[in-house]
Symmetry: C2
Subunit: 348 residues, 2 copies
DNA sequence: TTGTATGCGTTATCAA
DNA sequence: TTGATAACGCATACAA
């Protein structure tokens, strides 16, 4: 089907090496005669030559491919991240291969394995979390690797993520400032970096304000919308329901909205809602959601820069970068007065 | 860094072929002694052996990789599609490599080139449209290929997409039935399959209803939200503005919503809105959008099935499959009486 | 039951 | 200015 250097060599009568030099070298440096160059190029075109990257990769021990691993490609946060990463990588002449782990650590492990087998030049990983032995192995095998968004505090690996604790502080402090004290937190997948740090910020904000932590108000167990839906329904049945909900991710917030709609709960008048993540559609929702925005563009730029650096200098000290989140105040939070609280409670 | 079959052979004292057979063959068929098998497997584990897929691909002339090309990975419709395709492909033992063309035909061409160079076993392409010489070349080079969602009527290639004409008919007929006659259409990228077929359905619905086509009501030029935003603002300035807008894609609808919000236009009381595409968040928008749903799951299943079939039987006749769209009626369309129309016009 | 030899397509080294 | 050759890691036909 596809022709090879050899085919071109045969057709033109020059050697394979000459053909290779003309087509892939900065061929001037070998002083190939203009005539030969043209003959070769012409033949290449006629034969529809396409380099075989498998052969090149095998020979060069370098593939110009970067592996990307994300927990959910359909989550708007991650698809935006992938798009942004793709652009950054292309600038450096790299292609990329994405794996979607579906928030499943065993799929993540097999993704890492596949990428190793493909001999990618590096990896950028947003890990499910929970466990990192497979990533440790990568590092020990000297594979250049950067963790993005989902990291491990206790693992010495280059990483860039948003300051999740601070993000939660922003969100919960905002609610507290508006008079809320019964604030529920709908978690993502427990044991993951994103979740634990966000939970930590939630607790810290309450503690700092002298509000006790009610474990019944900490619910949920994954980042999908169904989780938000179910847990919100559950929370609404509480004899003394929360006046506000803080969700650990955008999809969870979507599910919460659906549950509220079903129960005729209006936001923000009946219930306030703030969410981590801030994808494009947040501001079109009903109502526009107050949300914590992560600087995706900056995150991907830094991740790629760190990866390139690691590829050049395998032994540099490793860095952990924490980016600043941002609170976008919109219309999903209402100010709560003591009066309204009492009214609510007596109404239940 | 990573060990090879040779390393294992050296360590165990058997030949490379034996090692290969133990690790990758259904090794019983060569009757390798149990003892050898165990020695080899043990050594492989100790040395951390990982097959080199570059070498295997080169030798086998088969990579078990499928190339995917989409116009916009961050568009919820396509990210859902990718996720679904990934699942289907994995079932068959295939991996995949995605390219995002950013709705740019020249990027699409270079993506096709890259995938050829990687020697993927097949491709699934949602093309930008506009032009198809590069795809024709692929077909002529006997690369198994299936077009998905974005096809070419005039190109003899396996393809699966939704019946866009019918989708537009559903949408516009719904608006007409509710009393609308001044219905604007905000297009996507002109010249693309998705856009032209959707436009065709729009026109046909109006013609069928005996409503003249007002070219001033056909606006816009790409599938992004900014387009929807700008064109909606423009439409609202019209001396006799439309009473309804039909958008060619979900992102366009998002932009339209933003423009309406800015101008204090309430939907559906001031303006009705229907959109093609129906991503997860449509029902959480303000208001919930009436939308045309495409059967993504079915589409991807069929695409993968067709691709496998083409890989097995390169010379089967080619098929073009058209799937049925579905109108999801929600709350973004209002019934228009003659009276309300008059009121509106005199109010302007 | 196992080993030897060859080739997949490329590039780098050495030689001419 | 160009060519011959070896090697990257693997799988297989053929031999033993």
């Amino acid at each position: 089907m596809s022709s090879t250097l050899k085919d071109i060599a045969n057709k033109t009568g020059v050697s394979v090496s000459t053909v290779s030099r003309v087509l892939h070298d900065n061929s001037k440096k070998y002083k190939i005669s203009d005539e030969t160059q043209e003959r070769v190029k012409k033949a290449a075109k006629e034969l529809g030559y396409r380099i075989n990257t498998l052969a090149r990769g095998l020979r060069l021990q370098k593939t110009y491919e970067i592996g990307l691993i994300v927990p959910d490609i359909a989550n708007p946060f991650f698809s935006a991240m992938i798009k942004s990463l793709a652009g950054e990588l292309r600038k450096g002449g790299y292609n990329f291969i994405v794996y979607d782990t579906d928030e499943d650590i065993s799929i993540e492990k097999s993704a890492v394995k596949s990428l190793m087998e493909k001999r990618v030049d590096g990896m950028i990983i947003a890990s499910v979390g929970q466990e990192f032995s497979h990533i440790q192995k990568l590092r020990d095998a000297n594979v250049p690797i950067v963790m993005i968004d989902r990291c491990f505090d206790s693992l010495d690996i280059d990483s860039v993520s948003v300051d999740n604790v601070k993000g939660s502080l922003f969100a919960v402090n905002h609610l507290i400032k508006e008079g809320h004290t019964r604030i529920a937190f709908i978690q993502g997948l427990p044991g993951t970096y994103a979740n634990e740090t966000r939970l930590q910020g939630y607790k810290q904000a309450l503690n700092d304000a002298g509000i006790g932590i009610d474990e019944h108000l900490i619910v949920g167990d994954d980042f999908r919308s169904l989780n938000g839906y179910l847990e919100t329904k559950h929370l609404l049945k509480n004899p003394v329901p929360p006046t506000a909900i803080f969700t650990a991710g955008d999809l969870i917030a979507l599910g919460a909205l659906e549950a509220c709609r079903e129960h005729g709960i209006r936001i923000p008048s009946d219930l306030s809602l703030v969410t981590f993540d801030d994808p494009v559609f947040t501001s079109y929702l009903s109502p526009a959601l107050t949300a914590i925005e992560q600087p995706i563009q900056k995150m991907t730029e830094m991740a790629v820069a760190m990866l390139y650096r690691r590829m050049r200098n395998p032994d540099d000290e490793r860095r952990k970068i924490l980016l600043e989140p941002k609170l976008n105040v919109r219309s999903s939070v209402t100010r709560l007065t003591t009066l309204t609280t009492i009214t609510r409670i007596t109404n239940q």
